[in-house]
């Protein structure tokens, strides 16, 4: 009987990723005072990954994880003191394991120097440990100590000729005899294994590397191999005890049949001592190569039970309605109406529950930050503490996946530009240790994520000067604080005095803003010079459903996100002003709102082309109010957002499409996109529609 194991591989990969996350976060907590539970949980995670990888034949993962596990095992037993260097090595190992797991997921071979380097480093660490443990923790491990004093480590290369088994010799018996001499580790090498079709069942293709820890002499070993001397090549070397690595001991059974496992691991350290450096770039490179994810979500049973109950109710309502429809009379219209209401209620609840399934606590996105801050703190030499709160705040999975990178950017910026070095901090009367706070909370239908640092804050004047220098603004302009901070998000804008490899190249903040906007969110900056700055990211809870106002322009129906609408009004003609070359402004109380005729922007034909009697929907985006001119206001309803980019591509001014009740498609307007489009058109033609209020207009 054979089970197709490959179907379980995705599950293995997912569990491994979770395991790695657990290892990473626990490792960061790990120090001398940690209780055994922390290290146990790390060990368990590593062990499950090793086991899973072994089952599926991912031998490089198994081998690597085994080294990690050995090191962890020593820490667990108290044979090794937990020190920061070891934790660093383990953290690097976690990175390597992640690279390997990602390589398996992407079905590519993982050839990264880092893995080789880290495994060498691990082996070195392990080697040192044996010495250390022999000296320092001698009292704890008498037994090891004793054997180590007398025992020698013999390394034996056993390369039998192919016809060895035909002469009636069985390597298994030889190894059994050897193991009587001392502690034996056996590594089978399968390099010479021919393909299955070329394989002769009576021939032996394997070679072995054996490590024997024993106080025996070379003669004793040779004696074991006496009978096969002529049928094999035998290299016996004595090695220092330190190089022993407790590799898996392979059960040597029938040779030719079993080994698809390559359990050989070259344990020869490379000649040059390579120092290991965390290559964040490499891991990023791998991440971007990843295919579109088809991931899965773990859902609590209670949520599923809730869904089943709701579906049950829906079925009942449905059967009631269809019974009603079978012989309908006007007298039953009351019941029909109430039935339909019930149906509406059911669908709404069902929809909400289904949406809730996609909601995950934001801790999934926050989890990576302790490690990031740890690394950044090491790299910049600043002491930084990370405080995370509100990690239970729930957020749509898609939003979560896409908010990760912008947040990383913000945290990096905070660590690099925000937090000052310790001496400056002390001089400014602040504690030497800088603090970065990550917080998430709900506000209305939005989630707000705050990245806050207690560093230098943003120097308004520096930004202003820089913006003037880059011709973004005029030196005479008077800007509010928030307008100044918005300049940070202009492409190519960086105020960092020097460029570091962490940040400062000025690419990034504009990408951050674009990413957040593409999620339908916005970013807000607050800063006090000398006290620190706060970046607030406002995001919609979900991307899938949106409350919209349906409007009509010509023959087309468009949807305006309700959240963007300030008010809708009938134009009063005496409040219209035409200024600076046929730009139409509408006086809304104190504000002058530029009027944006949708038909003109989208090149449609509309019933209402004159602004004098038009309907105006006043919307706001990026602090800019705009009056959209429409023909008619229709219903308000929730719409399911569908991407245009799946089969077509992103369209300027449109954030997506949806399917209306009658089966037709309607476009959802993207207000910031429309303003940008109007600017573009305004620049191409004579600027007749709207002008940029920043810069050109001041």
């Amino acid at each position: 009987m054979s089970i197709d194991l490959s179907q379980f591989i995705p599950t293995f990969l997912e569990e491994s990723v979770e395991g790695l996350e657990l290892m990473e976060s626990s490792l960061l907590e790990l120090d001398q005072e940690s209780d055994s539970e922390t290290i146990n949980s790390i060990f368990r995670a590593a062990h499950s990954i090793k086991g899973g990888a072994g089952t599926f034949g991912f031998n490089d993962v198994t081998e690597f994880t085994h080294l990690v596990e050995t090191l962890l095992d020593e820490m667990r037993d108290g044979r090794r003191k937990i020190d920061q260097d070891d934790v660093e090595v383990l953290l690097d190992s976690v990175d390597c394991m992640r690279l390997m797991i990602e390589a398996i997921r992407d079905e590519v071979t993982c050839e990264d120097d880092k893995i080789a380097q880290t495994s060498i480093l691990l082996e070195k660490t392990l080697a040192i440990s044996s010495h250390d443990s022999n000296k320092s923790v001698a009292a704890d491990s008498d037994k090891i100590d004793e054997s180590a004093r007398t025992a020698l480590c013999w390394q034996i290369r056993f390369i039998p000729q192919h016809h060895l088994v035909q002469t009636g010799n069985d390597p298994l018996l030889l190894f059994n005899a050897l193991s009587d001499l001392g502690e034996l580790s056996v590594f089978a090498k399968t390099d010479d294994l021919p393909s299955l079709s070329d394989m002769d069942a009576e021939e032996l293709y394997l070679t072995w590397k054996l490590e024997l820890i024993s106080d025996c002499s070379e003669e004793d070993i040779k004696e074991v191999f006496e009978w096969v001397e002529d049928e094999c090549e035998l290299i016996i070397e004595q090695k220092p005890q330190g190089m022993v690595v407790n590799e898996n001991v392979v059960n040597v059974n029938e040779e030719e049949e079993l080994p698809s496992d390559k359990l050989s691991n070259e344990i020869i350290p490379s000649s040059g001592e390579k120092t290991l450096e965390t290559k964040t770039n490499d891991s990023e490179k791998v991440a971007t190569k990843a295919k579109p994810e088809v991931g899965s979500i773990r859902v609590g049973v209670d949520k599923v039970d809730g869904l089943i109950n709701l579906v049950g109710e829906l079925v009942i309502t449905q059967s009631m309605l269809s019974e009603l429809g079978n012989d309908f009379e006007m007298s039953k219209v009351e019941r029909l109406v109430s039935g339909l209401e019930q149906l509406l209620q059911n669908t709404k609840e069902l929809q909400e529950s289904v949406m809730r399934i996609r909601m995950l606590p934001i801790s999934f996105a926050f989890n990576r930050f302790p490690r990031l801050v740890h690394d950044l703190s090491k790299k910049t030499g600043k002491e930084i503490e990370l405080i995370i709160s509100g990690e239970q705040t729930e957020l749509d999975k898609t939003v979560m996946e896409q908010i990760g990178d912008p947040l990383v950017h913000l945290v990096r910026n905070a660590a690099d530009h925000g937090i000052e070095s310790a001496d400056i901090r002390i001089a400014a009367g602040k504690p030497a240790k800088g603090t970065i706070t990550l917080d998430a909370y709900h506000q209305g239908g939005n989630i707000v994520i705050e990245v806050c640092d207690d560093g230098a804050g943003i120097n308004r004047d520096v930004i202003f000067a820089k913006a003037v220098e880059k011709n973004l603004i005029d030196a005479k302009d008077v800007l509010s604080d928030s307008q100044v901070y918005d300049l940070l998000f202009e492409a190519g804008f960086s105020t960092a005095a020097e460029i570091t490899d962490i940040s400062g190249r000025g690419v990034g903040m504009d990408v951050v803003k674009r990413n957040i906007q593409s999620l339908g969110g916005r970013i807000q900056v607050e800063s006090v010079h000398g006290k620190g700055s706060t970046f607030k990211v406002h995001l919609p809870l979900t991307l899938a459903i949106l409350d919209g106002q349906l409007v009509k322009v010509g023959s087309e129906t468009y949807i305006i996100p309700l959240i963007a609408i300030v008010e809708s009004l009938q134009v009063e003609s005496d409040l219209i002003n035409r200024v600076s070359g046929d730009m139409v402004l509408y006086r809304l109380r104190e504000d002058n709102v530029p009027v944006l005729p949708i038909y003109q922007l989208f090149e449609l034909s509309a019933e209402c082309k004159e602004v004098d009697n038009a309907l105006l929907v006043v919307v706001e985006a990026d602090g800019q109010k705009v009056g959209l001119m429409v023909d008619d206001l229709l219903a308000q309803q929730q719409v399911v957002i569908k991407s245009l980019a799946d089969n077509y591509q992103q369209v300027d001014g449109i954030s997506g499409a949806t399917i209306l009740g009658d089966g037709s498609v309607a476009m959802i307007l993207d207000i910031p996109g429309m303003i940008a489009l109007a600017k573009k058109i305004g620049k191409e033609n004579s600027p007749s529609i709207i002008q940029d209020s920043i810069g050109e207009n001041a």
Partner: protein
């Protein structure tokens, strides 16, 4: 003619089907369609479905040959008028005007686009050897859309590259 003889003429069930579609023939099958008076073909395995023309929802500021999008069982499918795209014939929307919906999968991502043509005509069997190279000059159609020419009787059918048709970036370039 008595009823016995008539019965002989009626083919046994299955025979006729084999004759019509001819599963035995080697090579690929192509769906042929008409633009103005010219015959075109696409690989039949890429054809998702053939729909009658319906007015799509306009995509703002799209090139003139991108007619808009329609709802195909919950999927938003853009509609491209091949007659406008290749400037062949007049873009009339009559009862015979149809939309051929093609799906092409590449790198694990599939893309579905509908193409407006004047009419669908036939299913064509052709070997790789039957496909001849098209001359590299003349015609209004950009040459990377043409995979080759197939002779069918006295007519010549232009075989279109589905990959080129499905490359949306191409449809953005204003003609």
């Amino acid at each position: 003619m008595n009823i016995q003889e008539l019965a002989k003429d009626i083919p046994v069930e299955g025979e006729q089907a084999l004759e019509g579609i001819d599963f035995i023939t080697n090579g690929e099958q192509y769906l042929t369609f008409v633009l103005a008076k010219e015959q075109y073909a696409v690989n039949i395995l890429c054809v998702e479905e053939i729909r009658s023309w319906e007015n799509p929802t306009i995509i703002p500021n799209a090139p003139h040959y991108v007619k808009g999008v329609i709802n195909m069982r919950g999927i938003i499918v853009p509609i491209i008028d091949l007659r406008l795209k290749f400037t062949i014939g007049k873009p009339q929307y009559l009862e015979t005007t149809v939309v051929i919906v093609l799906t092409y999968e590449q790198d694990n991502k599939s893309r579905t686009i509908g193409f407006v043509v004047d009419a669908v005509s036939d299913v064509l069997n052709a070997d790789q050897g039957d496909i001849k190279k098209a001359p590299s000059f003349g015609g209004t159609m950009p040459h990377h859309y043409v995979e080759g020419l197939i002779n069918v009787g006295d007519n010549v059918v232009t075989l279109l590259s589905v990959l080129a048709l499905q490359t949306i970036e191409e449809h953005q370039r204003h003609a």
